[in-house]
Amino acid sequence: MNRELPKSPEGAPPLTVQVWGRGALFTRPELKVERVTYPVMTPTAAIGVLEAIFWKPEFGWRPVAIDVLEPIHQFTQKRNETTDLVMLEDAVKHETTVDSPGNRTQRNSICLRDVAYRIHAHVELREHATKPEAAYRDQFRRRVERGQCFHQPYLGTREFSAHFGPADDSEPQPITDDLGIMLHSVHYGEKSPSFSWFTARLESGRMHIPRTGINTDAPVEA
């Protein structure tokens, strides 16, 4: 099944890791105040999981596909949150006190229940990388085998921690659906961050992720 996925410049198939958890919340940007999740893990959430397992400044992760391994079920939760957030510079100066009860706000979330995904991703070396791509791939595989991670991965939000392990050969769920426009990546520049997007579609349980997304600021070609 992985034959159809794009290979790395060295000709290697993508690395795979399987993640699962009791809940997940991949917030849609248009419905992010009273949160509504995408039905599928987003590429940025997949990068977060991969970096939690293995991160080095010498390379970056490029997810190419995500398989949905469990049926899509939702649940809702309502939480007390606060709108009183202290800016970093104010916190450093000890100028601001936090008044959470006085700034309480209740927010609802539609989340996913009992999820499992198989992430397919490539290692992309940066200019200052000192080792070949294969070395990082091997390190990643060893870490997945041992269950090692820098911090516990999570599925969209930190409340939903994820378990991970080597990929098995379970078939993706037979789901085909349009998911709308999905966040592809976030680009941090000197000014405010910019975003790129892609039109997401789940095809027989697999979501393919293009190499690059459509930049918000650039005109879209028909």
Binding site: E30, L31, V33, E34, T76, L85, G180, I181, T199, V220
Partner: protein
């Protein structure tokens, strides 16, 4: 996909002008192009109709929060006339009026050459027309709506005003950015905030007119930003989302019961058939339901479902939403192939089929009656507490719990079963909708598969179900012994306590039954009946599995089985009685004829 679907819906089903909204107007500021006719302020409300808020018009409207932001051509009294009331700050009223006049002038200047009405309105304000208006005798408030007309035609209907309004909204709401719209995927001018809100009355639980997309606090936005900077949505889509959702929530395709925390609006892409439309109704037609179930059984729906899974353009969409102050909370969003939802509906109606005491065969319960049955039973009026009642004790989320289970085909939350059991025990009342809810809870158990027939299953031997049947039979014996002349039945006395643990009630009933049967045996005409009733009681006892004969305290599932056994037996006995009566009447007819 919710926003995309709403925009598609708005484009197909609405013809609303952009950035307009329906609003009631209490007053009319009537201006005339002929000089001899004086401007006047007239009431649009019938003085005899105290509930009337005036006629509704589709008027230019854009989100207004705390700032001064006039709408064009028709607005509040404080904006159009500059008149305040006891609750308004005179300085702010003055600011509102000045802003409104400036906006009118800007429109008039752009259209005075082509639109005579624009010239009339401009001259009215420029010549101090408001000061010369006679203050009406009827009381007014600063926030009542005033509609400006010229020669009895509202100026909000003028094309020049509508064109100007679109430009004005773009000026106010745009951050000057262009980019990719998340909804339509096109490069277009992006909105800084969504230019419109839903009416408060359409969204249960909303404190103010709520917005579906709103990032009005720093912590809500990516990177601690307010507004839609990191949520690119273009003007057209922003307006279409509001227009589409308003149209849906105001349509007949909405399920909104009083005192519930949400409303559900649904629509279909494609051509749903009549059976589907009837089944989606809160009070469905029984024939349509029967046809839908039989189509599922003969495989028609199943085959269609498989085809739909491969590819089908026919889809069912529903959004369940509630209010959280001035924000809209999406509580559920379904976007599935239409055929899949039809199968779920057919399964749902099959799961709520139960026998009735008042007619033969099984009857389906509509959604409205199921929600109604979760409320308190008024034994004096012989009806359920009204849906609007404060004291009905219905859970505020029962509507969406049931709808979600129905449309998704998912298990029913256990809270519904607990609530219905509690209500039956408290009210001592069990009827078709409540029995349907109990059967539904068993058939859609979250963790195990429970088989429960819609009517009496005489082969069933589990103790709670048979105990329910015995309880009903004891009631039947008492009825016959007393010739129906009873103030309080055995059920009235013992049902509430028997739900939790039927053993004491049945033991008490056995002792009483001896007296009841003896009374029947003493009378010559009922001696045979006494024998038959006694035999039946013994048969029911023999049905109970001797290895698990004692009941003790019942779990919620067992309590539901007990009540269904009770309901099924009663419905069966009454049906048998009807049959005997019909046979008797049929047998006596020839004699009567002779």
């Amino acid at each position: 996909m919710l926003l995309q679907r709403l925009v598609e819906y708005a484009k197909q089903h609405t013809t609303t002008q952009p950035f307009h909204r329906r609003r009631e107007f209490r007053w009319q500021l009537a201006l005339y192009s002929e000089n001899h006719r004086e401007p006047r302020l007239a009431s649009l409300v019938d003085p005899d109709d105290k509930k009337s808020r005036g006629p509704a018009h589709l008027t230019p409207a854009v989100t207004r929060t705390v700032g001064v932001a006039p709408q064009l051509g028709a607005d509040d009294v404080q904006y159009v006339l500059g008149w305040g009331d006891d609750n308004t700050d005179p300085e702010r009223v003055s600011q509102c009026h000045e802003a409104f006049v400036r906006l009118i002038e800007a429109w008039a200047n752009s259209a005075a050459d082509t639109d005579d009405a624009a010239r009339v309105v401009r001259e009215f304000y420029a010549n101090g027309g408001v000061d010369e208006l006679a203050v009406p005798q009827e009381p007014y408030t600063a926030k009542q709506g005033v509609l400006i007309t010229v020669d009895e035609v509202p100026i909000i209907e003028h094309e020049s005003l509508r064109r100007f309004w679109v430009q004005e909204v773009a000026r106010r709401k745009s951050g000057g950015n262009e980019g990719l719209c998340l909804v339509c995927g096109h490069h277009a001018p992006l909105a800084e905030t969504i230019p419109g809100k839903l009416a408060k009355r359409l969204v249960p639980g909303a404190g103010n007119d709520p917005a579906l997309v709103s990032v009005n606090e720093m912590v809500f936005g990516y990177g601690l930003t307010k507004g839609l900077r990191n949520t690119p949505i273009c003007f057209d889509c922003g307006d279409a989302v509001n227009t589409g959702l308003t149209h849906l929530l105001d349509s007949e395709h909405v399920v909104r019961f009083p005192r519930q925390d949400s409303a559900m609006a649904w629509w279909a892409l494609g051509e749903p058939d009549d059976d589907f439309l009837s089944a989606m109704s809160t009070r469905p037609n029984a024939d349509s339901v029967t046809r839908l179930i039989s189509r599922m059984h003969n495989g028609q729906l199943g085959a269609a479902d498989k085809r739909a899974e491969e590819f089908s353009g026919d889809r069912f969409c529903s959004v369940t939403l509630g209010g959280n102050s001035s924000r809209v909370v999406i509580r559920d969003w379904i976007d599935r192939p239409l055929e899949e939802v039809m199968i779920n509906l057919a399964r749902w109606y099959e799961d709520v089929l139960v026998t009735s005491r008042w007619e033969a065969g099984t009857v389906p319960s509509g959604y409205w009656s199921l929600v109604l049955a979760t409320g308190k039973w008024d034994s004096e009026r012989r009806t359920y507490a009204d849906l609007t009642s404060n004291s009905a004790r219905r859970p505020e989320h029962v509507q969406r719990d049931l709808l979600s289970s129905c449309l998704r085909g998912s298990p029913l939350p256990t809270s519904v079963l607990h609530h219905v059991l509690g209500r039956v025990a408290a009210d001592g009342h069990l009827d078709v909708p409540r029995a349907a809810l109990l059967r539904l809870a068993l058939r859609r158990h979250p963790s195990k598969e429970v088989h429960m027939s819609p009517g009496l299953n005489e082969n069933r031997t589990d103790t709670p179900y048979v105990s329910g049947r015995i309880f009903a039979h004891l009631e039947q014996i008492q009825y016959h012994a007393s010739d129906g002349q009873l103030n309080a039945t055995f059920g009235d006395r013992f049902l509430s306590s028997a739900i939790g643990n039927p053993t004491p009630a049945i033991l008490a009933g056995e002792k009483l039954a001896n007296s009841w049967l003896a009374k029947l045996r003493r009378r010559g005409d009922t001696r045979a009946k006494a024998y038959a009733l006694g035999q039946k009681l013994s048969e029911l006892h023999r049905l109970i599995d001797s290895g698990h004969s004692t009941t003790g305290y019942l779990s919620p599932d067992q309590q539901a089985m007990f009540l269904l056994g009770y309901h099924h037996q009663k419905a069966h006995d009454l049906d048998e009685g009807r049959k005997r009566k019909a046979e008797k009447e049929a047998g006596s007819e020839p004699e009567t004829a002779n």
